[in-house]
């Protein structure tokens, strides 16, 4: 395995993916969950760009990445808005208290 840019980015994709999912599994704070989602999406964006680059389709990869950023921002905004509302209604951002719907 050579130390090429592509390899570094590939490691980055996997690393971000791992960090993001670790965040989703381990954090208990709602804001951190939204942050973890953001990290996950960054991994996907990097992946798209990397794939486009490796196939010589840089424009394709980049245009996809930009679209994803737009959509992802909307999701983040809604997520944070919901988090604010959760804080108001539940009085906490702890995920464990956000488990009234079960069974």
């Amino acid at each position: 395995m050579t130390f090429s840019a592509a390899n570094v980015v590939a490691v980055g994709v996997l690393g971000l993916l791992g960090v993001g999912f670790y965040g989703l599994l381990a954090t208990r704070n709602l804001i951190k969950v939204v942050v973890a989602l953001q990290i996950l999406v960054k991994s996907a964006i990097l992946g798209l760009i990397l794939a486009g680059y490796l196939r010589g389709q840089v424009v394709l990869g980049a245009s996809l990445a930009i679209t994803v950023i737009v959509a992802d921002t909307i999701v983040a905004v809604i997520g944070l808005a919901l988090a604010v509302q959760v804080r108001r209604k539940f009085g906490t951002l702890d995920l464990r208290s956000l488990s009234t719907l079960r069974r």
Binding site: F21, L95, R102, R103
Partner: protein, 582 residues
């Protein structure tokens, strides 16, 4: 004209069901009149069909795709069962006028009864396996809804759901068989299955044969699916008479009779059918012997008598089984309706609280005894002729040991029938129940049925000719009533059976002197009271499913982290499966 009558037989009750529902509960008189009108006219239409049967499809509508053709065939077997459904159906509706008077939600009651009558007629008249299954399910749905009619009573709700689930589980046999027949033969036509059965691969044919046997056993409350019928007795009594004695429970017997020519060569099938029938007949007779609930007694006796019909088919006696079906439909409907009059009058089903009711309700007693004598198989009532024919075909077409079991069953039948009659109508009154004789509408239903129990056997000859003419694959011998009667009387087996029946009667007569015998059979008696353990099996299956459902609910933790873990686990499993390469 025939297509019109066929459509009227199915369509009139359904139209009536819609109308009764539409009229609503605020117009009870109009509602009841509509129910009576539509059921009686359907009955007349079906009786008209009896004179013009044929083995050809008279209505055929292609539905396209995998749904085949919708066909209706007015052959002897179908028309005869449709006539039973509509005629006894209209008598049950008439009986209900008095029996159900003043109850709430009568619209639902009459609509469902009419819907059932139409569905039952459709079941026996359709020539396509898909639609046999469709109507099969419709009758199961109506049966469920009517068992649970008094749905504020948890016992009625439980009985309904039990009946639905058990018959549906068995129905899967019919479903699978119909699908297999379609994918192999490319058609749902029953006649095609009968015609091409010899060309089918043997494994496939036995799948069909045993699948249909399972479906029939569940529908006809035969061993090992028989447990639902006694619990179905929570239904209003006219419904028990119609659905759970005279018609729907016969659908299983009908199915076996219909396919007998195709399945008879399947190794082991005939013996399996006979064993299912004989086991049901003997076990249910024993349970009837210890029952104290009047309706449950009749339910056990229905299981037992259906066992006789199933046994007859296994022994090759298709005509005997259908003849017994006719007799049984009449006398058992009579018994149920008479029992309904008793229950309506005294307000309980417990025979321990009855006794000595005879003088207060002479008509009910007379009709009940006629029904009871027919059930016991005493000459010259219709049950005698048909039961003797069943036993005779068992002797010629089946092993001797099964025949002996069935003869023993006949003795037990006589014994429990007389025990029931005695407990209800004779002896000293065991409680201060107020009783009155049957009301007018009830009489209108009881008297024709009692007459039927006395004379319906006279139709044996024409009935055999009708079946012989329109069932080309069954090879039924056309005969005359006189010939059939001669045949029954001249057989030595008739004498044997009569002796055993007389023995059963004398056991009841001499019961005070036979206490030693009772203690000997104490174990059997206890087992019979415990339903021979079948209830326990049912309950443990139900409990296991419920507990699994409850346990699985803990996987729905409500915690986001676990949910995300589920996604990752799903991905991992799919990746592993793909890497493995299925």
């Amino acid at each position: 004209m025939v297509p019109v009558f066929v459509l009227l037989t199915i369509g009139l009750p359904w139209l009536g069901a819609l109308l009764v529902w539409w009229v609503g509960n605020n117009h009870p008189r109009l509602q009841v009149s509509a129910a009576v009108f539509f059921s009686v006219t359907a009955g007349i239409a079906s009786l008209a069909l009896l004179f013009d049967t044929s083995s050809k499809a008279i209505i055929s509508v292609p539905l396209g795709g995998v749904f085949g053709d919708f066909t209706l065939i007015p052959d002897g077997l179908g028309v005869f069962l449709a006539a039973i459904a509509t005629v006894i159906g209209s008598l049950a509706v008439i009986f209900s006028i008095d029996y159900m008077r003043g109850e709430a939600q009568l619209g639902r009651y009459y609509a469902l009864v009419l819907f059932f009558i139409g569905g039952m007629a459709g079941l026996v008249l359709s020539g396509s396996l898909l639609f046999v299954f469709v109507f099969w399910e419709i009758t199961a749905l109506c049966s469920y809804a009517l068992i649970s009619f008094h749905n504020d009573d948890p016992k009625a709700v439980a009985g309904g759901i039990k009946a639905l689930i058990i018959t549906q589980v068995g129905g899967i046999g019919l479903l699978a068989g119909a699908l297999l027949a379609y994918t192999t033969l490319g058609t749902y036509e029953i006649s095609a299955v009968l015609e091409k059965s010899t060309t089918l691969p043997p494994a496939l044919l036995s799948f069909l044969a045993f699948g249909f046997l399972a479906a029939a056993a569940a529908k006809s409350a035969q061993f090992p699916f028989h447990t639902w019928l006694p619990d179905a007795m929570e239904a209003p009594t006219p419904v028990s008479a119609l659905i759970h004695a005279a018609t729907m429970v016969n659908a299983g017997v009908y199915l076996l009779a219909r396919f007998y020519p195709a399945f008879a060569p399947v190794p082991g099938w005939k013996l399996a059918v006979m064993i299912v029938g004989a086991t049901s007949a003997i076990l249910a007779a024993m349970m009837a012997l210890v029952a104290y609930d009047l309706k449950r007694l009749l339910a056990y006796s229905t299981i037992s008598q259906l066992g006789y019909m199933v046994y007859a088919i296994g022994a090759g006696g298709v005509f005997a089984s259908q003849f017994h079906l006719l007799s049984h439909a009449i006398f058992k409907a009579l018994l149920f309706l008479a029992a309904g009059s008793v229950i309506h009058a005294v307000g309980t089903r417990d025979m321990r609280q009855m006794g000595g009711l005879g003088p207060k309700m002479p008509l009910v007693r007379a009709t009940f005894i006629i029904g009871g004598l027919a059930l016991a198989g005493l000459p010259i009532l219709n049950g005698f002729w048909s039961k003797e024919l069943v036993l005779e075909s068992g002797l010629t077409g089946g092993p001797l040991w099964l025949y002996l079991i069935m003869v023993l069953g006949a003795g037990l039948t006589a014994l429990y029938t007389f025990r029931g009659v005695w407990l209800v109508f004779y002896g000293k009154p065991r409680s201060t129940l107020h009783a009155h004789d049957a009301q007018p509408a009830m009489r209108i239903a009881l008297v024709p049925l009692a007459a039927g129990a006395l004379i319906s056997w006279l139709a044996a000859g024409p009935f055999s000719q009708m079946l012989a003419a329109t069932l080309p694959f069954h090879k039924i011998e056309a005969s005359s009533t006189l010939h059939i009667a001669e045949q029954v009387v001249s057989e030595p087996s008739t004498l044997v059976a009569l002796l055993v029946i007389a023995l059963g009667l004398s056991v009841w007569w001499q019961r005070q002197h036979l206490t030693g015998l009772v203690t000997t059979f104490k174990g059997v008696q206890n087992a019979a009271i415990q339903n021979f353990g079948f209830e326990t099996i049912n309950n443990s299956i139900t409990r296991a499913v419920k507990n699994t459902g409850e346990a699985l609910r803990t996987t729905q933790t409500g915690l986001l982290s676990w949910n995300v873990l589920g996604i990752l686990a799903g991905l991992a499993i799919i990746l592993i499966i793909l890497a493995w390469g299925v």
